[in-house]
């Protein structure tokens, strides 16, 4: 159990990645060990999938030491808009 909240992760991702949109879902029934995230940031522009995920992992380096499952989807603002958002 890591005890992180959706709100904490959302705030950290928004700050560190200058994200324009972040959705974090706790999939651990509240115990805070399993999350999924959707992140929209212009920092992803021109980066490969692996580079994007590395940026996200770096932003949550401390948290990922104890979160045992983390799934992420990364979009640039353009890609996000193209998905109909």
């Amino acid at each position: 159990m890591s005890g992180y909240t959706e709100e904490h992760l959302k705030q950290k991702l928004t700050e560190k990645l200058e994200a324009t949109h972040v959705e974090v879902t706790d999939e651990s029934d509240g115990c805070g060990g399993k999350f999924s995230a959707v992140i929209v940031s212009s920092q992803f522009q021109g980066k490969t999938l692996l580079q994007r995920h590395r940026l996200v992992n770096a932003a949550l380096a401390e948290e990922l030491k104890t979160i045992h499952a983390f799934s992420q989807k990364t979009y640039t603002p353009e890609q996000w808009a193209a998905e109909g958002h």
């Binding site: 999938l49 692996l50 995920h53 590395r54 992992n57 380096a61 990922l64 030491k65 499952a69 983390f70 799934s71 992420q72 989807k73």
Partner: protein, 107 residues
């Protein structure tokens, strides 16, 4: 008894596709590892797999080697490709077929 980078280097180059996972392909012990196994099965890939649940030293060493915090981890041609999310997206957008083709695997 730590596992050093040289040993990992050897492991990741031992086959064209190498997977570090929880459990083994016959019996994955985590949904994320299972997803990677299913994807590779769909592409009929022959690969090496290493169970990090059998060795804490290996589990730590592979994270340090790839600078990636989670398991599973997939290597193609000795290069770190990503974890479950990346494999899933590469499978969905067709990139995985291209990457496998580059190393002579047709799926």
């Amino acid at each position: 008894n730590a596992v050093d980078a040289k040993e990992i280097d050897k492991l990741v180059h031992n086959n064209k596709v190498v997977v570090f996972m929880k459990g083994n392909p016959e019996q994955p012990r985590c949904g994320f590892s299972n997803a990677v196994v299913q994807i590779l099965r769909m592409h009929a890939v022959n690969y090496d797999s290493h169970d990090v649940l059998q060795s804490d030293a290996l589990r730590q060493a592979i994270k340090d080697y790839s600078n990636w915090p989670t398991i599973p981890q997939v290597f193609i041609n000795g290069e770190f490709v990503g974890g479950c999310d990346i494999m899933l997206q590469m499978h969905q957008n067709g990139e995985l077929i291209d990457e496998l083709k580059k190393v002579g695997i047709t799926s």
